[in-house]
Symmetry: C2
Subunit: 211 residues, 2 copies
DNA sequence: GTCTATATTTCGATAGAC
DNA sequence: GTCTATCGAAATATAGAC
């Protein structure tokens, strides 16, 4: 009465491996968000994952590879939020989409912390997340820039609206609010403050008189 | 024909000590600005100072003490720029003062880098610069908040101007522009972008119709 | 005041057993 | 796939000579 060694045996091992890997990425995300990349040790990630240091490094050849996996997962979760919609928001509607993004970030302090820490660390070109951070900013600038330009063409914005400045300051507001929000959790609403910024932009650059 | 051992001998030693200390603070400022506090080793600061590691630690009992000296010097250089004027800028004039501050920062990438790195690192309460960063933000919020409230009282701003939001978003713009400026040096003018923000604020909240 | 030498951790990564 | 053991490098800090 022997049970046949099921395919599940092989399968279960694989699943466990996948689970360990996913757990490790989640643990690394949390710790990188709290202490940054340099401030987090592989051993700490391993401990939180429930593996030994070597056990963790079996899934990722190096600490930098672990970071790459974290960023990949971050992109996977966020990738389609702005650029992924089939009908891309255009004109002023782009700012409504951004408000929704900010509201969503307000429920994800870990992801916000991860970005703020890495963005500051990765200013240095030699940082393993440098290219990723630059691509992130380039992507947002392109998306929002095109949206505003379309708004100008459609007559939603004044014809003399300075597209690049609107884009730069809007991105700056989002980043700066995240810093303040992380430093004083609960003492400000990122979404409300961002809407105040959009309100000022509309007053200045909308083609219709709003105030 | 012996030269009397002059008081200068004692004095010269002291001066040299003071100079080494000052050099070390300058070196630490540069390196902290480039790689942050955690990413900079005491040995690297010592090498740039022209001292051995132990020679440096003779002046500062610990790495944290070195950071404290860096922050103290930073405050000494910047302390009087905003709050130090005898007649504090009030109302919209406060934003002109901020524009001047941003323009000044545009010539001091090291100081900007230092702040951006430390602000992100020191979100964590256990970071040795945590209290300093919180005080920095509290100070700016108080100063700008009072200026805007005075502007409201004087009738320069609309009576329904949301003071706290104006303060928060203005601080956010400054911080966010610094991040972008450090990441892409030369590709944006912090002063121009900040003025665009102030322009939008005036359009929205000035008591006189400006646009 | 500055140095050499060293103590003590901690880190990232590798080797090899199971 | 995971572990123990370990290596080599780098970090902070201290001791003691000059």
């Amino acid at each position: 009465m022997s049970f046949p060694p099921p395919h599940r045996a092989r399968s279960r091992v694989d699943v466990s491996g996948e689970e360990s890997r996913a757990k490790a990425v989640a643990a690394a995300t949390e710790l990188f968000a709290l202490a940054g990349y340099k401030g987090t040790s592989v051993a700490a990630v391993a401990a939180r994952t429930g593996l030994s240091q070597s056990g963790l490094l079996h899934h990722f050849p190096s600490k930098a590879a672990l970071l790459a996996a974290v960023l990949e997962e971050r992109d996977r979760q966020d990738g389609a939020f702005l650029t992924g919609s089939t009908s891309p928001p255009l004109g002023w509607a782009a700012f409504d989409a951004l408000t929704a993004l900010v509201a969503r970030n307000s429920t994800r302090p870990r992801m916000v912390g991860l970005f703020v820490r890495l963005a500051a660390e990765a200013i240095e070109p030699s940082h393993p997340a440098h290219a990723w951070v630059q691509q992130h900013y380039a992507g947002i600038r392109t998306w929002l820039g095109e949206a505003v330009r379309t708004g100008v063409d459609r007559g939603e914005f004044r014809q003399d609206a300075p597209v690049e400045s609107i884009v730069r300051t809007t991105v700056a507001v989002i980043d700066g609010l995240q810093q303040q929000w992380l430093l004083q959790p609960g003492e400000l609403s990122m979404a409300s403050e961002f809407e105040a910024h959009v309100s000022a932009l509309r007053a200045r650059w909308s083609s219709v008189e709003v105030r």
